[in-house]
Amino acid sequence: MLFSAIRLRNVRQFGPDGLAIEGLSPGLNVLTKPNEFGKSTILRAVQDALFLKASSKKASDLVPFGTDEAPYVELELELAGTPFRIRKCFAFGKKATLHRIETLAGVEIARDGEAQQWVTANIGASSVGEGLPGLLWMGQGDALTTVLTPAHTETAQGMLSDAVTEVAGGDAARDVADAAAAALREIEDGNRRPKGQLKDALAQIEQQTAAISEAEAALRRTAALREQVRSLRRRVTSLTDPAEDARLTADIEKARLEAEKASKAEADLGHTEADLARSRDDLSRAEKVLFAFEGDANSLKERVKKQSMAEANRLQLDEALGHTDAQLRDSAERAVKAEQRHRQAELVLRQASAHARRALETQRREDLQKQLKAAEALQAEIVALKPIADRERLDLKTLALLERSAIEADAALSAQAPILSVETGGPVDLDGLTLNAGDTAPIIRAGRVVVGETVLSISQAGSDQAQSKARDTKRALQEALVKTGCATIDDARHFEGETKSANAATAAKREELARMAPDGLNALAEELAGLQTDGDDLEAPQQTLPEAEAALAEAEIQVRERRAAAAVLEEELAKLTKQLADLQITMAVDQADIDRLSVELGTESEQAKRRTELEADVENARAAQGTIFLRMEALQREVEAGTLLKDRHARLVENQKQRQRDRTRDGEKLARDEATLNAQLGQGAAENLDAARGKCAAAERTRDKLEAKRRALKLLIQTIGEEQAERQERFLAPVRRESMPMLRHVYGEAALHFDSKLNPETLERPSGSFESKALSAGTQEQIALLTRLGFAKLSASQGSPAPLILDDVLVYADDDRVERIFDVIREVAKVTQVIVLSCRERLFERLGGQPIEPKPFPLRD
């Protein structure tokens, strides 16, 4: 199908003059007119001419403003190569109402209702929005939504006829998937967490597991308590045994009697201890008397013996005193002699010292004289070198530079000079220089050559400058040499060498002089003058100085030794004298004691008798004490045994009391524990445990059942999803085939996914996957347009080309995109008719195609 002409009259702004678009091409047609021209009116008029009943009041808004003219639309179109004309006049029930299909020659084919049926049958739609026109004719703003209407979807799906059977199952699958999802939602929430019965079952399992643990713990506590009660009960039974009570009472009575017996022994022991104390005093006294007697007797014996030994000592001391006194006198004499020898040695030493000092002074004077002479010679040499050393230093470096410049200037002059070579013959005179065959000579600047009679004058152009430079440099060198006073530069170098040598020699000699006479020549001369006077002649010494010094030292040692020996003897004499005095005092005291004790003790026979008496007293007292001690030991044993018996009695009494206390305490505890046990038993932990286990098992069954259902639902949903995706892929393959190249042309690497309603769903690009609704308005519009272009191409490829009408599209696209989409539109226009209406004249001029030039379409007379 394609349009070849569209004509309107009395349609909105086009009024009675009308508008005619003639000669539409089968390819791309472009109408670019400014806003308010009525482009949308043209599309609206075409749609109404095809699908609106001529009598429909919906067409009333086609009526030009302020008139009641009946809108008239005339379309010429080709269907399968056959041209038709459709004429429609919306006269709203008046006679002028017209709906007629005719040949271009005006032969009517159908009219009114039949005409409408004809349109439906041939165009494939019965109302606006239906069929291919609905899908492919994009009015203003239609492209801004990517969502297809149900009619669009139906049309698009109709084009994908191969997949019809698969389409048939789509809704059912969705319903099942929805039902499964709804069932799954009853089991788990959006975050896949258990919900509803499953959540309850899991909570129940947790709760009952806790209850089981609690009940088991309670049972364990009860069992432990029961064991405790049984143990306690056995103990209480034992504590309340009357036979045991009677046995304990008898034991206590027996112990009591034994304890009383022990108390009596304790009293006896007290008395015996007093007897023993008295006996001890008696014995002690007797022993002391005997001890004192023995002490005095021994003392007398020792003193007599000591007196005898003292007398012997006194005699020895007298003898030692005499001997020591004689030694002391001899020692004093030897000391006097030693002191005399010492004085003599001192005199000899003083004489030797004076002689030695005089020899040293003579030697020093001779040395100073030599030194002063050498220093004066050095001073004279320094003075002699001074005229040379003080000469002004020459600038040898400058002289060398000037010399080098002069040599270089001469060399340059020579290099420029032509060489006169005498090849054969000769002689030849060159400025007075005779050259024979084989000789050569340079001609510097100009030359006069005489060959025989012939005189040749040669001048060298351009050598003046070099010669002048040679001359200047030589002059500068001569002037510099004149300033130094030297004839040649070698003289100058020699002169400078002498100056440097004189300077070096002067420095060396000054250093030597400073070493010899650090304080100057005058200081040396003064020191020498100080040593000039010689003293009187000295007597020759008896000994050399070292010999005299050694002799004096020897004399000093002897004096010290003699004096020390005398002191030792004096000390010894004093000591012996004191010992003798002390001994004499001791002997006097001892003699007094001997006299006293002899009176007190009497004779030796009297002493023997007295000793025997005293020894008998001691023995008697000791025997009395032994008797008492034996008695006391026996009593102590009795008392110790009695203590054990009394302890046993006390322990038995305490045991009996403790038994009573235990009986009370354990009895009370038993009663408490029994009450607790009964209370615990009364709580029915075993019942609770059984109940919890049963509930837990039931909850686990419910959980397992629901988990199985959950898995089954997920599997079902997943499988349906996978199958739907695969079906979708197959179903959309033709659309994808047509739209993918376009999409790639516009966006590069990209893929478009459609939902089940064939709406563009997501745009895949290297940068990511974007939901259609989330794309920019421009991209949404472009995708909607590309989708229509795809369907248009698909329709053409299926042998049913239908015009694609685009009213005011690409509102938001940038220039680059527009160009690419234009490429696609041009490509689609090769297989189907495309009519583009736009207000953007300059932009759409670039689209190319056949420009539409509307003309008036007034009513002919």
Binding site: T165, E166, V167, A168, G169, G170, A172, A173, D175, V176, A179, A180, A183, T222, R226, V229, R230, L677, N678, L681, G682, Q683, G684, A685, A686, E687, N688, D690, A691, A692, R693, G694, K695, C696, A697, A698, A708, K709, R711, A712, L713, L715, L716, T719, I720, E723, Q724, R727
Partner: protein
Amino acid sequence: MRFRFLHTADWQLGKPFGGFDTETSMRLQDERFQVISRIGDIAAEQGVRDILVAGDVFDQEQPSDRVLRRAMDRMGEKAPCRWWLLPGNHDPAGPDSLWDRLAAGMLPSNVHPLLTPEPHDLEPGVTLLSAPWTSKDPGRDLTEVFDNDGEGIRIGIAHGSVQAFGSDPDQTSIIPSDRADRSGLTYLALGDWHGMKQAGPRAWYPGTPEADSFINNTRGQVLLVDTDEPDAPQALSTGTFTWLASSLTCAVEETSLEPLQALFDLPALDTVLISLTLQGALTLPVKTDWDRYLAEQASRLAALRIDHDALDVITDTSALNDLLGDGVLSKVAARLSADGSPDAEAALQLLDAYARR
């Protein structure tokens, strides 16, 4: 001389029935107390005074005070009936046992625990010989104590298995089935078996007065014993709940709900508990219908347990195609069918169910 009494056993008061939902377990627990009153009423109606409870009066060795008190209250209300309670393996007498707790102030005057083998005169010429359990594992035949001679009517009361009932032959505490003959008993009142059975000459198990498992398929009852006819005690119904264990073998050709519907054609469904085992094979669509039907019935019953582990569900995808067409769902069904895992099988059943909506 003739003596009549009621014989019951295995009340197992306090049994938690934890495997059921809370409401059902509460109802089942509660009904075991209510049946005590009904037994007392029957005794009154029948003009008998003595009710022999042959062991396992309580479910636990140490029930809660609440269970003990409720039981004692129910029995105490039925004086002058006398309740003779024998400790069984669930509630043996022993140190610190529940019987001590009862003795410590909970026992009504018409309740008599039989804690020792000491004989009791029920009335002149009628002697009750008891064989109480004093531990969980007595290790011997407790009825041996009955081997003594005596005059008049001698009624034994004991608890435990009888060899003829297929118990472990090595078990030492088994009661000989001819105990009544051996011990010259007029009647041996036994407990332990939860269904009514004759254990031997003049020896009977009455079963529980309120059923508690799917094993026996009977409602609870007590035995009215007349010593003149000790081999023919009269069973009197006492139970409220009916426990049914049903098994249904399905044929793959089955297309209707009829075999199922027959199972649920019962009065007072809210007092019925059914354990249904399905085996054989069903096609997926039929199984889906059955599941829906069973879900409806479950809401009517006190409890419904279904075991279909032994049921094959035939997932013929060609049959599914009629329902699912040849679109996405048929491919999904084919994939799930080919998968064969339990999850895939369940997913297939869900698919079938949802597709039928």
